[in-house]
């Protein structure tokens, strides 16, 4: 799956939690837009939607902090 297709899918998921448009590099956690519950839902979403396993070594906020980070993470996991 290419980056744009991933981005579209992630945007659709994020729209359930964030009622404002966010920049691709805006820190979702630091901005207070999402909470800890979202963090687990994001993991489940990535695993189910892209058929990958998010594991111990993936626990790095740099993988989840922004839209670009999430897209990049998924690209690496699906490569």
């Amino acid at each position: 799956m290419n980056a744009e297709a991933i981005r579209e899918t992630v945007t659709s998921f994020l729209a359930q939690f964030i009622n404002v448009d966010v920049d691709d590099d805006e820190d979702l956690f630091a901005s207070g837009l999402v909470n800890s519950l979202f963090a687990m839902q994001l993991v489940l979403f990535v695993e189910k939607e892209f058929a990958v396993k998010v594991e111990n070594e993936d626990l790095d906020y740099d993988n989840f902090r922004t839209m670009n980070a999430i897209v990049g993470f998924i690209q690496r996991k699906t490569a």
């Binding site: 998921f13 729209a15 359930q16 939690f17 009622n19 800890s36 519950l37 963090a39 687990m40 839902q41 994001l42 993991v43 489940l44 979403f45 695993e47 189910k48 594991e55 111990n56 626990l59 790095d60 906020y61």
Partner: protein, 394 residues
């Protein structure tokens, strides 16, 4: 929604029911009075392999699907909320390691937890920290290839006997999760007695004074102890509690159907009185509704659907409220008998109250559920706007 059970799931349920009815139910009131879960009972339970219910077979567990595990929780919850809490907290440790443990942690601990050779417990709550769990005050300091854990935990189910604790502590100012063994120097537990319910769940206060643990005992990464490790554990705990509450409702209903058929007042069995029927009808209806929610959450879990967290919260919230109502009505129906230790409904009543508090109080569940409601509204409005835009473009 799909709610039918496979023949294999039905067979498993019958097996769980038989064990619960024959091995636990006859003694559950005594355990409650003694405020002890005998070691022999824990060993007998471990011998079934069900302490490893959620652990995959390759790690020595049963590898149960979510619905089968729910049925196990229901049947154990039907006879003993205290034993259910062993299944709950032990499973929370298993689940957290399964999801976020290192390959080595999984290889070392999961087979021991699955067999019951090691009993696990979950150490999140503290004397001054309850619902605001990410603000735990226990600390972990990295030093010389180890972590030094200091702090206190409270209301830890099976904390009196567990061998391995999943402890949430602040490390570098961020919640983090660690495995701490009972025999770690500086670790101590003190029994908590005189509780309202869960009296044989062997609750304890934990004291950790400079407990030095190897750095390999960090579970997940620094800063992910609450959001991910405890989050995974708590979701599992809520799922257990929801199904356990279903069992508790069934126990109340069964006791009331039997009692009202035999007990006579005003020259007729209680079952003939319409105000009694009202309470029975509510128990039956709530039981069915709770079952639908539990099955739905189980289906979400088996599919790995992100909605499982919400659906589990909803099931836990509804089922625990329904359990409290059913237990209260059960005591009411039994009258003075229901207040005596001769009838298990008084234990159900006390245990049901705990169900509304553990693994995230019902007020926390309400907040989660309400927020989700607003998220759904936002989605609906976006879809509406998109639909109108598409129509305008056409």
């Amino acid at each position: 929604m799909e709610f039918s059970l496979t023949p294999e799931q039905r067979r498993s349920r019958d097996l769980f029911r038989s064990f619960a009815s024959e091995e636990i139910a006859p003694h559950a009131d005594q355990y409650d009075r003694d405020e002890q879960m005998p070691e022999s009972v824990i060993k007998k339970f471990a011998a079934t392999g069900w302490l490893g219910a959620v652990v995959p077979k390759e790690h020595g567990g049963q590898g149960m699907d979510a619905l089968t595990f729910g049925l196990l929780c229901e049947e154990i919850g039907r006879v003993s909320a205290s034993l259910l809490s062993l299944l709950t907290v032990h499973g929370m440790v298993c689940q957290a390691l399964l999801k976020w443990g290192t390959a080595e942690q999984r290889a070392v601990w999961l087979p021991r937890l699955a067999s019951g050779a090691t009993i696990g417990a979950f150490g999140l709550t503290e004397p001054d920290i309850g619902s605001d769990a990410k603000s735990v005050q226990s600390t972990a300091v990295h030093a010389d290839g180890s972590y030094l854990i200091t702090g206190g935990k409270k209301w830890i189910s099976f904390g009196q006997v567990a061998d391995l604790f999943l402890i949430i502590a602040q490390c570098e100012g961020r919640p983090s999760a660690f495995l701490v063994q009972r025999d770690t120097p500086g670790f101590a537990s003190q029994a908590i007695s005189g509780l309202l319910g869960f009296r044989s769940a062997m609750l304890a206060r934990l004291i950790l004074k400079n407990c030095r643990i190897p750095e390999e005992n960090l579970v997940g990464r620094i800063g992910f102890g609450f959001s991910h490790v405890a989050g995974t554990a708590l979701d599992h705990g809520r799922y257990c509690v929801a199904w356990g509450c279903l069992g508790l409702i069934e126990a109340c209903l069964s006791a009331c159907l039997s009692y009202t058929s035999e007990r006579k007042q005003f020259g007729a069995p209680l079952r003939g009185h319409q105000l009694i029927q009202q309470m029975i009808a509510d128990m039956i209806t709530n039981s069915k509704a709770a079952r639908l929610l539990c099955h739905h959450a189980g289906n979400m879990k088996d599919k790995g659907d992100p909605a499982l967290i919400m659906e589990t919260s909803t099931a836990k919230y509804f089922a625990s409220r329904a359990a409290m109502q059913a237990a209260s009505d059960a005591v009411q129906i039994h009258g003075a008998n229901g207040c005596s230790s001769d009838y298990p409904v008084q234990r159900c009543f006390r245990d049901a109250k705990i169900m509304e508090i553990i693994e995230g109080s019902n007020q926390i569940q309400q907040i989660i559920i309400a927020k989700n409601g607003y998220q759904q509204l936002i989605m609906e409005r976006r879809k509406g706007r998109q639909g109108r835009n598409d129509a305008a473009d056409a």
